[in-house]
Symmetry: C2
Subunit: 322 residues, 2 copies
Amino acid sequence: MNKTVLGVDIGGTHMRLAMVDEQGRVLHHLKEKTLIQEGAGQTAERLRDECRAFIGQAAAEGSRVVAMGLGVAGKIDRIRGKVLFSPNLPALNGYPLATELQRELGIPVVLENDANAYGLGEHWARRGQGIANWIGLTLGTGVGGCLILEQRLWRGDDLGCVAEIGHMIVDPQGPRCACGARGCLEAHASARALWQSVGQAVARGELTAGPLFEHWQARALDAAAVYSCAQQGDELARRLFDRMGWALGLALANLFTVLGIRHAIIGGGVSAAWDLFIGPLRRSVEEHCMMMPVQNLLIQRSLLGDEAALLGAARLAWQQGG
Amino acid sequence: MNKTVLGVDIGGTHMRLAMVDEQGRVLHHLKEKTLIQEGAGQTAERLRDECRAFIGQAAAEGSRVVAMGLGVAGKIDRIRGKVLFSPNLPALNGYPLATELQRELGIPVVLENDANAYGLGEHWARRGQGIANWIGLTLGTGVGGCLILEQRLWRGDDLGCVAEIGHMIVDPQGPRCACGARGCLEAHASARALWQSVGQAVARGELTAGPLFEHWQARALDAAAVYSCAQQGDELARRLFDRMGWALGLALANLFTVLGIRHAIIGGGVSAAWDLFIGPLRRSVEEHCMMMPVQNLLIQRSLLGDEAALLGAARLAWQQGG
């Protein structure tokens, strides 16, 4: 009987589930809203039901699901299979998500921070292959980060928190971040930073008409909407992507300078706005990175898009249960 | 015949030379002004003569100098034994210092960045012993940095530039740094930052009398003088050490957040002002480090003082020529 695993990525907005074979091929795929406002229990139940459906489907196709990997945005306790603190999924704080799913599904379930899962996915399956040292960023509701050092996922002192690049402070006078600090990268370069800044412009009376305002009024202001408004020439939307590029460039410049490495790979849903922020990003790296020859630096867009964290979670599942 | 090595540390202001045994004990020690304004050739000649004197002394004592390690502030080419770019010792740029000394002294000479040498020294001989992962900072004319990861000196992609923590930008609106960027840690937390800020206060007419002004007027304004003025209650001097602590705390907070590690060791001549900057430093870490429990962080003062880089250079010499 063939073996497969499940890879799951639970983000602030969407939840993705895939059945993945040992070569990293996605056999089946599902994407739905996380709807965490329904509570952790509800989300866990829905996820469990989807997993059961996948396990049944695998059986019908003559294969067996042997393990599951779970990427979650936030600080996690890998040993206890517990989400410790998730700013974007607060209902999951303290919730023993992996332990519970493991008990109910009867297969090993490994928990990992979603940005680390993204790094493992890229490293396993795409851009990161063969690059010894690289910095990973995922731009989504928040900004996640990972470090691959000497071909391995860097875990630091295993404090449950590593490579939180989104919470590097790039401007101590900058906007307030969800974490409480001022001027984090995430407060400049996440989907939330985009829509919050639009909301603030509305509150200040600076944005009173036009497509961006209409999206905001219709409560349909996601990163894609801000992107399309910027594409159509909206000044505020363009400025927000300029700022995103500036902040990403400053953070990367600092990381290149400190780590003495030259590769970065940027993924996550908001990286779809690549053409709008990559120019300001490169100018910012050039302005802020004085110790390295900038022409040696390689900043690439993830080729996996939404699938990187999924695949990384599946990779962990293979390592654990395969 | 006993073997010994020479360890040398060439800083922007002072040059230190020591004979070191295999256990890391300093047998003889010399400290003098670098006087780099006399030119690289002059400095190299003086250094060569001092080394010869040490080699002669060793012979007289029945031991033999088998190698030499050389720590230099700046970007270096380890393979070619050349200083590539040293902001604080510009006369050395492009100078084949190690190759030349090796030829003239007839022993292997290894070149290393002085902050890396400091890290090796601490790791070999003192504070760093047994700590797997730590961030090193040396506060001198500039600010040097090193990373010890998994018990080894981190070299990144071996680009000749690594752990340049002094050139992390902590405040993009901050003071101009010697490297050309704005708001580097070094522009807040080095001896040069201290004396330049005093000079600027004089130029703006804000400092016109008192001990700090007199030191400045007498061209005797080093970090120690600013320190003693702060001790005596001088407002400007105190503010400068507050700012130093704030910037160090912000840089360390960012590094703890990104690396997921919890140790830092601060050395270099200016770390003698510990009691003045450690309070603001700790408050700044607390304010800026939201992802880690701050009580788990350990920020220590180097126990080696001036000797860390010397000892690290000696350590390299032992690895090379012992």
